[in-house]
Symmetry: C3
């Protein structure tokens, strides 16, 4: 896969990525989109969610700090995106932690046509109907084979499925990409998971005809930047700042030399 060509598409098209996301990491979701050269917008009022989604290139929904009203706004935005064939990325952040979160995740999946479902192993396993426990929003061990879960869910829901982790799995009904970039420090930083969903939205917004390839390329770029950032970081916080800087400065040479996307 020519990962860099997807980054180039982002930088050229500068997609507008509308978010209804997590209040904890909302700033970082916006900044990661901007660092890639695209435009973030966050707007959740029911009176304008449809208008904003309708002018965007992608819509990112993240249930991390969900409420009933917030999910209703997500549905309004999602329906507007669907009616214009704008891709919708759903981060099922924290699925498995509470019944409320599971129920609302499934409501979104049933009522909105989702292009990419994204989560860590335990979150996606729960959405796929497997019985695993999520502990907060960190990944827990999941016994079942994640690749099988991803491929099966992708077929059932007719969408792409992304499971982030030591290796990232990106599956659609026909193919699977494995992204092996990144490092352990990413899991020491609050928000890298949410940022990954925003990155997927950014790349899918710029390359909407190949969502799974775009998602894999976006994750690879994000994680290559993380590898570069770690070289100079003294800990999780300087790492995060350098991550944004490295995303902003990411070169064709770095991407070509460092990309690890297999099938």
């Amino acid at each position: 896969m020519d990962v860099y060509s997807f980054l180039e598409a982002v930088r050229e098209k500068q997609p507008l990525v509308h978010h209804l996301t997590n209040w904890v990491t909302i700033y970082d979701c916006a900044q990661v989109v901007k660092s890639f050269g695209a435009s973030p917008v966050m707007a959740h009022a029911p009176e304008e969610a449809a208008d904003m989604a309708g002018m965007a290139s992608a819509l990112v929904l993240n249930i991390g700090t969900l409420t009933v009203d917030f999910i209703e706004s997500m549905k309004i935005a999602g329906r507007a995106a669907n009616s214009r064939n704008i891709p919708v990325v759903l981060d099922v952040c924290g699925a498995g932690a509470t019944p409320f979160r599971d129920r609302k995740s499934l409501e979104l999946l049933d009522e909105i046509r989702i292009s990419v479902i994204k989560g860590n192993g335990s979150e996606i396993a729960r959405i796929a109907g497997r019985d695993v426990r999520t502990r907060g929003v960190d990944a827990s061990d999941v016994e079942a084979d994640l690749r099988v879960i991803a491929a099966t869910l992708a077929k059932e829901r007719n969408c792409a499925v992304v499971i982030t982790g030591k290796e990232d799995i990106v599956a659609d009904s026909e193919r699977m990409y494995i992204v092996r970039n990144g490092n352990e420090m990413m899991s020491r930083v609050v928000g890298t998971g949410c940022m990954a969903a925003s990155v997927i939205g950014t790349f899918v917004g710029a390359s909407p005809n190949t969502p799974s390839a775009a998602a894999a390329a976006g994750l690879s770029c994000f994680e290559i930047a993380a590898e570069l950032a770690l070289e100079k970081a003294g800990g999780p916080a300087t790492f995060k700042q350098l991550l944004f800087d490295c995303i902003y400065n990411l070169s064709e040479n770095d991407v070509a030399a460092m990309q690890k996307v297999g099938q």
Copy 2:
């Protein structure tokens, strides 16, 4: 203009700046106020918005992530500020993007006496009744002459108008300041626009009798710090951290040597 004298007033008076602001950038709005030596407070419950505004030196309203309820709290705070002659800064963040946003901006302008309206070119043009399109919250090309728009709106609304951009325009009904500090990296960072509104609130809070001069001086200081920050920054995220540090350390010599405020 003696820009430093306005910074000195901020550091001596340490104004309390009450915000009802954008959830995306709320932290940075608070930190920029504190870095200048003033005190931020954020409180939006309708039960306390008036009490908090009434004890502040300035009130900053930012509609970036507006809802109907949030705008109602802004009105409560705004009326309390008005009744005590506390200056109110309104950031019409994202005006032009949706009809809801335009309608609520105009409601605030009609119901609250605003001291300073602040936005980028397309946002202010929309508030002034010009037909331009805002794409998300980034500035778009605006054909009309921004200086004329600013001066006309300032007279119509009897307030100061600030249009941020490559040059910042600060107009009131009698005069105009042009601030030429700053750099392009500011536009690569989510939140510099919102921070600019908080900076204006801070400086107007310390020098309430000369709001347009205070706004221009505040923008100049903020952007001088941005120039100093860029010297050591590796990208947008380290730039933002250094920006806060440089604000905190801003010296009389730096301000005197670097200020670019014309008329």
Copy 3:
């Protein structure tokens, strides 16, 4: 006191710390917990607040950006925590600033069994029924003897009381710890107060049988990291980033050599 043993307990047990906190500093509250090696979770919907609190090792409530609905969610989470003997930390952020804030703080104290009440001098004095004025959320001079206030309130409310400041006072009904680590730069950064409450939740979550000792140890570790961070910081923003890094890297030697916890 062997401060490091409490840090070791955090790193080994990795407590899940559930927050209903301030929207301004919510990211930093999460990141400080994670930097210490524990797991943060933020969830405020009334439909899941009890479920999330019930699986946590500690619950942190911070009223910084309270609303009526948010306080109701805090009560739901608090009752769930109480029913399972999960320690609850209450940061009375901004108490004294408005009557609404005072009333809601006292409601929480009356309806929920709180393990640790935390605030700065003027906030705690107000909660204790003393007549002092809070200016925004910064500490103001409080005439009354803070140690007496802390000890008296601890007895009245049968809990631990933490007053942060140049020296931190941690009192329960039987003893008092004084923490003398930290520095003035902490007060130049928005969020260090809120982070302190999250640190207390983290340490009390790992050592629930000795809440006052755990709180004192947590504050000492947090502030030792602040001392280390200041050595390389150029201002408040780089200081905050280095603070997280130093927390993440905090060694037994540093803690043993630098701890200043007296009685």
